[in-house]
Every structure is written in structure tokens, then in C-alpha cells.
Amino acid sequence: MNYLEGLAQKEMLRAQSWRRSAVWLAGLILLGIAGASLVGELEPKLSGMAKFLQDISIQKGWPVWIPAAFFIFIPPAVLLGIMMGLPMFVVWWERKVAAHTQVRLGPMEVGGWHGWAQVMADGIKLFLKEIIEPDGIDKWVFRLAPFVVFIPAYLSFAPLPFGKGLVVLNLDTGVLFLMAVSGLSTVGILMAGWGSANKYSLLGGLRGAAQVVSYEIPRFLSCVPVVMWVGSLSLTRISAAQSGFLWGWLPRWFIFYPVVGQISFAIYLITTIAETNRVPFDVPEAESELVCGFHTEYGGMMFAFFFLAEYSYVFAGSLLGAVLFLGGGAPLFSFLGFIPSWAWLLGKTFLLVFVFLLARWTLPRLRVDRIMDLCWKVFLEWTFVVILAMGFVILWRVK
């Protein structure tokens, strides 16, 4: 084969791959829609199962605590499974997004189809690695830090609805609980930075603490307009309040509320990226300045816990954004109502996750003082403006 012919052939293959991947994407989306609508809403099935279990236990004369124990232990176990499985998918997806943004392919070998097993292989590697503790560390602080980061990440999934009626803990104060619990991870970041006996770690930990604590405020305040409008902190009620259509075609998602919705959604999105310590706000682990920031000295599973926590926060933040601003499980058009609510919610969540991942490969890292400026001098004021505007709207509605 001639050199030029070879290049021309590669060009042809590239052109074909464009079409092939478009067909693949459309096919996957259609297949997902078809599968989801075949499965249907999960809530009646689950409540049917629960009722079946209760009936059986009454029939057989089992003690009362057996079905009760099922309801106590099964949902958290399912949640743990979701929390272990989804970050793995998000990590794989992140590597793919990184690769395709840089016009390459990413992991393609492990597992056969587009390197789907790469993350599992990495996980096995992390499991088998020795955990090295450097000299001069604060032992208990060092050892506890990954769990202090990870456990709030797990807990923050509790009040999040995964669809209509699919919620582990239907709290009346869902938004408040989520914000409060996810703020606890800061302590873990600070502990990791302090315990590592490493100047880079300490700097990273302090930066992380400063950043996360300050971004907590505009993040929570950007959710307040939604809470004010709905009149409840419960996430299930908030997502239920956004179903239906205005004038028959405009969905009642909060993002479609003029001005107020868009501003608070933008602030929520940016502050969530900052809250999860991701690029462009990744100063706590800025690898070009601080090696790896607060988790420089961690290896093996200890590192994996930080990693899992970060990606579950990304997922939890996207899920919360979808519930608060993108209407939860409500469909975009009324004729798409046959798709069950959990599929809608997952679709919106993955759209937001994609924005998170793409932001990492689009924007350069901000300077520390500018991050702080942005938080205290721009976002905070705008959240106040939005809350004020929302208050006037509510006053007008009451009148």
C-alpha cells in the first residue's frame, strides 16, 4: 500500500467512524428509552414486593422485626452498591471525555469493548497495593481521614430521590441535610492535609478547607429560591412541584423560570464544581503546584476512598441539580411522558455530569485569591439578589 493511499484510507475510516458513532449513540439512547419504558415506574413494583414480604411474614408467623430489618438494611445496601458502581462508570466516562476532547480514544484494550473493564482492573490494583505510611505522620488522623471524607459522601445520598418514590430516607429537611452532611468532608480534607506531615498536603488541606467552607454558602443560598417557591425543603416535594406544563408546553422546571431560575442554576452549577474540588477550582490538589494536594501521601485503598468520595460528590451534586432545577423526573415534552421518571432523572443527572467532566478539560485552573473573590464578591451578592427577587415574586403571588 502506498503511503498517500494509506493516509487517504485512514481519513476515510475517520469519516466512517463519525457516522458509525452517531448511529451508535442514537441507538444506545433509543435502546435506553425502550428498556426504561419496558421496565416502567419502579415504585409500584417495590411497594408490591414490600407488601408481599409483609404478607408472607404474617402468614408464616415470623417475628415483626424480620420484614422491618429488610426495609432497614436493604435500601442502604442498594445505595452502597450504587455508590461503588456509579463512580466507577463516571471515572471511565471521565477518561473517555478527556480522550475525545483531546482527539484520541482513551482506554480501548481492557475488557474488549472500549476498555470498559479498565476501571475495575485499576480497582483491583488499588486493592492489592500496600498502604505506605510515611514517617512522622499523625497516625490516627492520617488513617481516619479517608473515611471522614467518604462517609459524608455516602450519607449525602440518603435524601436524594432516584425517581418518583425511589428515596431511601424521605426527609422533610432534605436540602438542609445534604448541604450539612456534604460540608463534613472538609474536616476529612483538613485531617488528610494535617496528618500527612507534608508541606504540600498541608497547603492543599488548608486551601481545600477555605474553598469548600466559603463555597458552601452561595451553594446553599442558590437553592433557597427553589425552596422558597415550593415552600418545602423535602427533595421529593420539590421534584413533584416541578411536574406539569405551563400553557400546555413549557415544563415547570425551575430553570425555565425567567431570570431567577437561570441565575440560581448557573450559581449552583459553578459552586458545585468548586465544592467537589474539580477543575477549574481544583486548588486543593493542584498537581502542578502541590503534587497532589491533600492526598499526596495516600496510596492504595486509602487513595481510592478519596477518589470514590470525589466522584460520588460529582454524582450527588448533579443529581441534586437535576432535582432542584431540572424538574426531577418530569418529562421535557408531554408526549415523552411514557418514559419513567427514574430514567428522566438519570438522563438529566448524566447530562450535568457531562458538563462537569467537560469543564475539567475546557477551563484552566483559577488562582486561589480569584476563587475567593468570585465566591465572596460575586456569587454571594447575586444569590442575595435572586432571593430578594424571589421574595418579591412570592409577595406578589400572595397578594
Partner: protein
Amino acid sequence: MKFWDIKEIIKAAYDTLQGFLVTLKYYFSPAVTYQYPKEKKPIAERFRGVLAFHPEICISCEMCVRVCPSDVISMAWQRNEATKKKDLLWFQIDYAKCNVCRLCEEVCPTKIKSIHHTIEYEMVFEKREDFLVRWGPSTADTVTGGAKSQDWYPFTAAGRKEANQTKKPGKEVAA
């Protein structure tokens, strides 16, 4: 930074959005990379790859030995009294030292070059001794050489039998 400076905020948002559009454009454009072991990049005709040598064409003139800047090539020959020609005893290329400059190929006087570069680039050796590839009797004194009747090494890149040797012996080089 003033938060009421809406013009500035709109400009920043516009710039960020532009960045996202650029990355999205590249995100959806097909990859330029080659999945190497499965898919190989086309090689240009005059690519300088692994050196190949054909003892049946060689006239033992030692031009390549003299021109080589890295002392890669060494050889020994013997005058054949019957034909009045030089008979090649052995010929050796040290691939560890070769800097792939094509001087030996340019200087080779035979019409069909007896030493030339191929477009093969997959050259892997497991031991340092393997870098020395020798054409000639396998068990021979390096100075005097052995008998001509003994086996000659066939050319192998990386010291192994090459199934997909793209350039067959007798590559004709255009002037």
C-alpha cells in the same frame, strides 16, 4: 471585581461558553490516533527503518564499512583465486549503534543495493548480544571466517524470523 458589573459578567459567560463550544467541537470529531498493534500508520516510501543486508549481492567492496559514521558494519572477505573475485566470509551489523542515516545505502555500488533500509520499524532485542546480527557461518572465527559451505543467517529483524518482510531482497533504488 464588582458584582453589579453585568457587562463584565456577560463577557465572562460568553468567553466560557466559547471555550465549551471549542471542546465540544473536538469532542465530537473522530480521533486522529492509531490503535497501534491492531492498526499501523502508513509508512512513507523512503522511511529509514531496520537495515537489511543481502549477502548474495554483496561484492565485498567495504565502502559501507568506511562510510559508516558509527562503526556499525564490520565484515571479512577472501580472494577467490579461480574467479578473481572477493568472497564474503561474514558480515555483521551492530543495531545498537546504527543511527539510521542511510549513508551505507547511498554508497553501496551494486546496482541492486545489497545493504539498504527497509520500512520495518519494529526492532526489539531481548539481550545486548542480540543487537549484533551476523550474516555468515554461525560458528566461525571472527577474523579468518569459516568455510563458505556453512549456513548463512537469513536476515531477521529483531533476530527472529520475519513473516511479513515487506521489502524482498533486491530493492531497486531510483537515482
